[in-house]
């Protein structure tokens, strides 16, 4: 635990002194601002989907690869991974701390979008549905967690951060486009196969949370997939021992 805290502190420190992270945050906030301005001032809809529909779906796919690309690949390239893994820390602690560090940064960025909620509250006379905002934000963090874990996993394979970013971005894009283009999937007949297919796509679960619905299936989906990728990342780090 002590190791984990020390490692996470280092990760957070490194993110918060990196120009790249601030550039990403600027991009993130710009996109959210754009979506919000567009939607709110035209639709006047006071709900959490106003914040993210439709460009907001795209944001974690774009932002997560940039934030995660360097996490392991840079350590590989600089050789600091050797320093890190010859210190008395476990591989799992290293992976979890990297994930937590980047999650803290993503969380801070997301917290800044609460400004938009404040603006909505200011112009809105009726009763705010705070519950749906809470589930919406939970959804934003959960889907970000999944893409960050995936980006971290990809980062463990490459020594060039750009390559890692490219691979995780394209993968995210593929998932997003299949999700949009194929509802209901034209090639899959209704039934179990189609259900499984739909269940696999993260954005279907995200939509539920944005709609204010808390379903344990959605929560379990995000937690399990995130843990799965973190576990795989640990195995990739460990793989140096089998080679």
């Amino acid at each position: 635990m002590r190791n984990f805290i020390a490692l996470t502190r280092r990760e957070v420190l490194s993110v918060f002194v990196s120009p790249l992270a601030y550039g990403t945050a600027a991009m993130f906030l710009f996109l959210f601002g754009l979506v919000f301005t567009w939607r709110f001032f035209f639709t006047r809809l006071v709900e959490v989907s106003t914040l993210v529909d439709p460009l907001g779906y795209f944001v974690p796919i774009l932002v997560a690869p940039v934030l995660t690309m360097r996490l392991i690949s840079e350590e590989r390239r600089l050789g600091t991974l050797e320093m890190l893994l010859t210190a008395p820390v476990g591989d799992l602690e290293v992976v979890l701390s990297k994930f937590t560090g980047v999650m803290i940064f993503y969380g801070s960025m997301t917290a800044l979008t609460l400004v938009h909620v404040g603006v909505m509250r200011y112009y809105y006379d009726g009763n705010m549905d705070w519950g749906s905002f809470a589930t919406g934000y939970l959804g934003m963090l959960l889907i970000a967690g999944l893409f960050l874990a995936f980006g971290l996993f990809v980062s463990a394979f490459f020594e060039t951060p750009m390559l890692a970013a490219l691979v995780s971005f394209v993968s995210g894009l593929a998932v997003l486009t299949t999700g949009f283009a194929a509802t209901p999937p034209a090639v899959v007949r209704p039934g179990m196969a189609s259900d499984i297919y739909n269940f696999m796509l993260p954005f279907n679960h995200y939509k539920n949370l944005l709609g204010g619905v808390i379903d344990t299936r959605d929560l379990a989906y995000f937690v399990l997939t995130t843990v799965f990728f973190l576990f795989l990342t640990t195995r990739v780090l460990e793989s140096r021992k089998w080679k």
Binding site: R2, N3, I5, A6, L7, R9, R10, L13, S14, V17, S18, L78, G79, T80, L81, E82, M83, L85, T86, A87, P88, V89, G90, R240, K241, K243
Partner: protein, 319 residues
């Protein structure tokens, strides 16, 4: 403290090291020598638990490098050759991070950092960002990191590579001091360094160990150099008659040097003693008896084969 038992490391078909066995006792300072590509780094990575061996067993501080990797890592300070550091952090921040993950208790982190920073003389750079440090300072930060803990054993991979002669001398002095408290295994291909710092050397060549006995034997061969004034042929004949002498050679002289030194005309002989006996007594007696004939000893010195020569002979064949 460090024990390698028949270590073998293969990368696919390529055998990097083969059946490497050696021991480093507590408190020893041992130099690990080999030409570039002799897989010194691979061996050190195995000892520091970064990579496992394909076969054989390595143990450090009594723990197995593969099965008890955490315990091993707790007892070593390891400095890789390229000195990888996080460029975006400040020196003090970096060392604080390393101290914490190395298990230095929270209350002692500050004093521990002060200790290693003082040791490596980087007090004035503590606030500087690592990315802006010169190579010499980076090396010292790496060393300071290795000292955090403090660990019982230091494994240093080429701690002086990339340094200028002045910095090398500083690191050498530091290593001499460290040798008093830690068990040190350091690799290098700069031999003067090893002569100055290490009590013992381990030479690997082509992934195999050059046996200690062979190194010891090469190092034990002593030669004597004597500059004697007198008729060359007669002196040579007389020297060959000496009981303790195995062979005598006439060394070529630099003519200019002889003129400048103002010495009388003389010849320099190299005496190789029989079974390492000391031929000097016999030599003085001989010269005393020939005093009237004008033979005169101008210079006599004992030569030990330098590590450079030992290394060349051990790795390049030769005798």
């Amino acid at each position: 403290m460090i024990e390698a038992d028949k270590l073998t490391k293969r990368y696919g078909d390529f055998t990097a090291i083969e059946d490497l066995s050696f021991k480093v006792g507590a408190g020893e300072v041992v130099g690990f020598l080999g030409v570039n590509g002799a897989c010194k780094t691979t061996t050190m990575r195995i000892l520091s638990c970064f990579q496992p061996a394909s076969a054989g067993k390595a143990s450090v501080a009594g723990f197995d490098c593969f099965k008890q990797s955490l315990e091993v890592r707790r007892s070593i300070g390891y400095l890789p050759e390229s000195v990888p550091l996080y460029p975006e952090l400040r020196v003090a921040e970096y060392l604080a991070f390393r101290a914490r993950i190395k298990g230095v208790p929270g209350g002692k982190v500050k004093s521990e950092i002060a200790r290693v920073v003082g040791r490596c003389k980087i007090e004035d750079r503590a606030r500087q960002t690592i990315g802006t440090l010169s190579r010499g300072y980076r090396q010292r930060v790496g060393l300071a990191d290795a000292l955090l803990g403090p660990p019982k054993i230091l494994i240093l991979d080429e701690p002086t590579s990339g340094l200028d002669p002045l910095q090398r001398a500083e690191v050498r002095d530091l290593l001499l001091e460290l040798g008093k408290e830690h068990t040190v295994l350091l690799s290098t291909h700069i031999l003067s360094e090893v002569e100055a710092t290490c009590a013992r050397v381990i030479i690997i060549h082509g992934g195999k160990l050059v046996p200690d006995e062979r190194v010891a034997k090469l190092r034990a061969v002593r030669r004597y150099e004597a500059a004697i004034a007198g008729p060359q042929d007669n002196v040579l004949g007389a020297l060959r008659q000496l009981a303790a002498v195995d062979a005598v050679e006439v060394l070529p002289q630099v003519k200019e040097d002889a003129e400048r030194s103002g010495e009388p005309p003389h010849t320099v002989f190299e005496l190789i003693p029989k079974n390492n006996e000391d031929p000097r007594t016999g030599l003085t007696e001989l010269l005393a008896s020939k005093k009237d004939a004008g033979w005169k000893l101008l210079e006599l010195r004992r030569k030990v084969l330098s590590l450079e020569e030992v290394f060349a002979r051990a790795t390049g064949g030769g005798t």
